[in-house]
Subunit: 274 residues, 2 copies
């Protein structure tokens, strides 16, 4: 297994939530991190034109804009609004030169998950022409089952695969985030299958803390939890994945730290534990 | 689908954590609830002889003693201690006339889940003669994937089924808790299969709250969350399950209420939403 360096690494701006886009760019570039995935909340205060200018002059590679999705809804109006937002998301991805938009597909309390997944497939199908026209890929991110009620009706690689198989487009694939799928007994075989089907678009890393204190914002640094990231990386690489490895950590605890010191820990953990 | 009454209902003593065993018995019997599953923490302060006497004179049916398990460990010594505890657990189940011991099978941070599952199957195999001799069933409870790091390496009905298929004993089966498995795309087919294999030993209900605040103690009352309990009950009954339906709610919020008023809400929610 090859030794990693920071040329393979992209950090999600949300990892350093207290920072602006400009601060992320300066810090990542100075640290030698080669890539950055951009969350929309850092674009919003400065606008897409300025964001695009900053990103392009940074020289950083941009695997993803994060995030689109949230397709299922109880009314046509809400679904139409989601479609509009998703098209804007693709436009922004194209403007900053991102390879893909990550899709958190959505779920609606009270709607059967099977119906929600149908609406997800329908929504992505409708979005595809716009994605293809802009040469932006759409990466379905299966979310941990603890988000099945209200954030994502796709909770395993398998259900993401079923949507990909239905839509059969090179512009639709899967973002494999270890935090969400590490527990899945079918993970190895699904990663292998995604490799064969050319749908493995992204690999996200962080760690699962024992005694997690919060369902959203208590992710761990790589190496401080239960996930065997090196084994999952081996599966992902064996499946042919050669993109950047993206660090995505949401943590109230780490957001309260000095972000420069924290970035150093992120980089060290990446080199040691992924 | 038949209308439920409280003669089908058993409540886990942990649902009313502030109460002693005697208080649970009085309150459940007065409310017309026909069954009770007993957690070991209410036995401990009074001893098994007194607990057995109280339970037997109550007339309540006792589906389960909760809980045994925690088989995987890093050393033989720790595994031997778990085996001792599990035998005691079976003895206590027999003493209070419980049909089964519920198994939370365990997991160890850093141990691959596949290895942990192997140790679970080995542990249950070793425990089986004692269970059979005492005529106490062992019910493997798949736990939600959010507990995969440190509480349970069995997170879907399927992995519980694989252990049952390996051990092939009428004394080993599955406790299907809607809270843990409601999100599983294979739930319906696995329940059907468990029915055919005569392994469906228990059906537990509560609800999954949107924006769950705590991974352990923020379960919802039936009807206030995302789980379609009536549909799951239909699957379970179609699979031939005719045991009691067990209410098991851990909730810091509800434990702070007047427990008599809370029990009324539990019974109403059971009749209305299961």
């Amino acid at each position: 297994m090859k030794t990693l360096d920071l040329k393979t690494c992209a950090i999600h701006t949300m990892t350093n939530k207290p920072w602006s886009l400009a601060q992320c760019i300066d810090a990542y570039a100075s640290a030698g991190v080669a890539g950055m995935s951009v969350w929309r909340n850092v674009i919003e205060p400065i606008g897409i034109a300025e964001a695009s200018r900053l990103v392009k002059q940074s020289g950083l590679k941009i695997p993803a804009l994060v995030r689109g999705g949230f397709f299922p809804a109880l009314s046509d109006d809400v679904r139409a609004k989601a479609m509009f937002d998703n098209k804007t998301c693709i436009d922004e991805a194209a403007a900053i030169g991102a390879d893909m938009v990550v899709l958190v597909v959505g779920a609606v309390v009270g709607m059967p998950l099977t119906e929600a997944r149908k609406q997800v497939a329908d929504g992505i199908a409708k979005l595809l022409p716009h994605a293809q026209a802009n040469r932006v890929k759409l990466a379905i991110e299966p979310l941990h089952p603890m988000y099945a009620a209200d954030r994502s009706c796709i909770n395993r690689m398998k259900e993401a695969r079923l949507v990909c198989e239905q839509l059969k487009s090179p512009w639709v694939g899967i973002a494999c985030d270890a935090y969400h799928v590490w527990w899945d007994p079918d993970l190895e075989s699904e990663i292998e299958l995604a490799g064969k089907q050319n749908t493995l678009m992204a690999f996200h890393v962080c760690d699962w803390r024992p005694n997690t204190r919060d369902l959203l914002n208590d992710r761990g640094l790589m190496g401080e939890g239960a996930i065997d990231l090196k084994t999952i990386r081996r599966w992902v690489e064996r499946a042919g994945f050669d993109g950047m490895i993206e660090v995505e950590i949401f943590s109230t605890e780490f957001w309260a730290m000095d972000q420069q010191a924290y970035l150093k820990k992120v980089c060290d953990a990446y080199l040691q534990h992924v």
